[in-house]
């Protein structure tokens, strides 16, 4: 099996796991990490457009619980993934099916998807639903997402404002404003260390009841962007001559450097040169697939 095929399969399975975690009735285990609803919707529209069951469950969820989606953040993440057109096609169907009207859907050709009635949600206590739960409790805003991120970390973890902004997908200014409000309210602590504020949730904060144990909170927007870019690359290079494949794969791998770090994904071995790079690159794609296949990370 080609490496890109395994990455596509792992991506589809992980997308399904995300929807299962949010209440979708699909075969398989639920994602055990913090689910990012906007990243999940955008990647579903881009990669799972031909997966009827997954698309149907995504539509079910968006129609029933789409009010929990931050439409501005959804738009930003779709742009990062270069999935704007796919999201627009999905948004048209969501709107036509009785869900929220996301502005990006205007004028787009609807995706072939239909409601399946396959989402069942009793409560939001599962760790994977923390973002959704906090938005339900405190509103769809930066505060809920920042709290979800901080709560997902082990007690005592301090994060820089810039990192919080990057991980939650809000501008640094908006993240800083939300953090300052929450600091004044005593919800978070912010200590100046060096030239950056370090933000944390007090160890004895009652908010910790929302998530008694830390849970992995991958940067899903970055992670899915990497997967989408590599799958697109594989499509573009399907008929390319060998010499071009090596160069184009290397260029793509080099360009992903910072995003791989953000996404917590393994890095390709760029010290491998010549024709051996093709096998090394395939092994790296396999490693990406392995990360996506591990529902705990």
């Amino acid at each position: 099996m080609r490496a890109s095929t395994s990455l596509r399969r792992a991506s589809i399975d992980r997308i399904a796991a995300g929807w299962i975690a949010l209440g979708g009735q699909l075969e398989g285990d639920p994602d055990a990490t913090l689910v990012d609803p906007e990243a999940l919707i955008a990647v579903t529209a881009e990669l799972a457009r031909d997966e009827d069951r997954i698309l149907g469950v995504a539509l079910d969820w968006c129609v029933a619980y789409g009010d929990a989606v931050n439409s501005a953040r959804l738009r930003r993440i779709a742009r990062t993934m270069d999935a704007t057109a796919a999201l627009a096609s999905f948004a048209v169907v969501v709107s036509a099916s009785g869900g929220p009207k996301w502005s990006e859907g205007a004028g787009a050709t609807p995706m072939a998807a239909s409601l399946r009635g396959k989402v069942a949600v009793r409560d939001l206590s599962a760790p994977a639903r923390l973002v959704w739960r906090l938005r339900s409790a405190f509103g769809v805003n930066a505060r809920a997402d920042i709290l979800a991120l901080l709560l997902s970390c082990p007690a005592g973890t301090e994060m820089r404002v810039a990192d919080i902004a990057r991980r939650t997908g809000f501008s640094k200014r908006n993240a800083a404003l939300a953090i300052e409000s929450m600091r004044l309210a005593g919800v978070v602590e912010a200590d100046r260390k060096g030239n950056a504020d370090r933000v944390s949730i007090p160890v004895d904060s009652p908010l910790r009841a929302f998530l008694p144990r830390p849970v992995a909170a991958p940067d899903w927007a970055s992670r899915w962007t990497v997967a989408i870019e590599m799958l697109r690359l594989a499509e573009r290079l399907a008929d390319a001559p060998d010499g071009a494949v090596i160069v184009e794969e290397r260029l793509a791998a080099e360009s992903l450097g910072p995003r791989l770090r953000d996404a917590g994904l393994p890095r390709p071995d760029l010290t491998v040169r010549g024709s051996a790079f093709a096998a090394s690159f395939d092994a790296w794609i396999g490693a990406l697939a392995a990360v996506l296949s591990d529902l705990a990370q």
Binding site: L237, A240, P241, D242, G243, R250, G274
Partner: protein, 198 residues
């Protein structure tokens, strides 16, 4: 640390470059001279650090000089270098003066083509290589360096050497160069070389 390129390496690098250009829809025809030409033909076995392009060949067969590589070609050359651990300038523009001062008569007719995807490499003919190597060997004389070795490897006839020497003098008509040229010819066994250069 990049290594000099042998025949297999150079052939492979040009193939990779041709693949990249073809994939990107770019087509180039370049004319190769110097050590790269000799290595590619298998005339010399020593590796070369780079390959020199004397110009670009147009569709009508005319050869035009290149002051620098076109952007798309330069980018692809650099990317192939990175991917295959070659020197960044493994394929570069050689001496402009060759075209400006004139190539040996009939140069275009002696070119032979090698096709690598989007890249066609035209190799200068053997007589033309003798011209270029004799010029370089005389220019470096009395140092007996790789140019003289390359010239020997080409196994030129006495007639080719004398003809090449006359062409060389069109590039450097100075008496000093003529003297060096005669010395190289004598070194290669051409008797009474100086008198036979007129």
């Amino acid at each position: 640390m990049t290594q000099p390129i042998d025949r297999t390496g150079l052939d492979g690098a040009l193939a990779a470059l041709g693949d990249v250009l073809a994939y990107r829809g770019e087509l180039y025809e370049i004319v190769l001279v110097g050590g790269g030409d000799l290595v590619l033909r298998g005339i010399v076995s020593r590796p070369t650090k780079d390959a020199d392009i004397v110009g670009q060949r147009l569709g009508n067969g005319r050869i035009v000089p290149l002051r620098r590589l076109p952007d798309a070609l330069a980018r692809a050359v650099s990317e192939v270098a990175d991917a295959h651990d070659l020197a960044p300038d493994w394929l570069n523009v050689g001496p402009e003066s060759l075209l400006e001062l004139g190539l040996p008569a009939g140069f275009e007719n002696r070119l032979t083509a090698r096709h690598y995807g989007g890249l066609t490499v035209w190799l200068a003919g053997l007589y033309d290589l003798v011209c270029f190597k004799l010029y370089a060997a005389a220019d470096h004389w009395p140092s007996q360096d790789r140019h003289l070795d390359d010239l020997r490897a080409l196994r030129p006839t006495e007639a080719d050497l004398l003809s090449s020497a006359r062409w060389s003098m069109t590039h450097d008509p100075s008496p000093a160069f003529r003297g060096q040229l005669a010395a190289v010819l004598a070194h290669l066994g051409v008797e009474d070389a100086d008198a036979r250069l007129d």
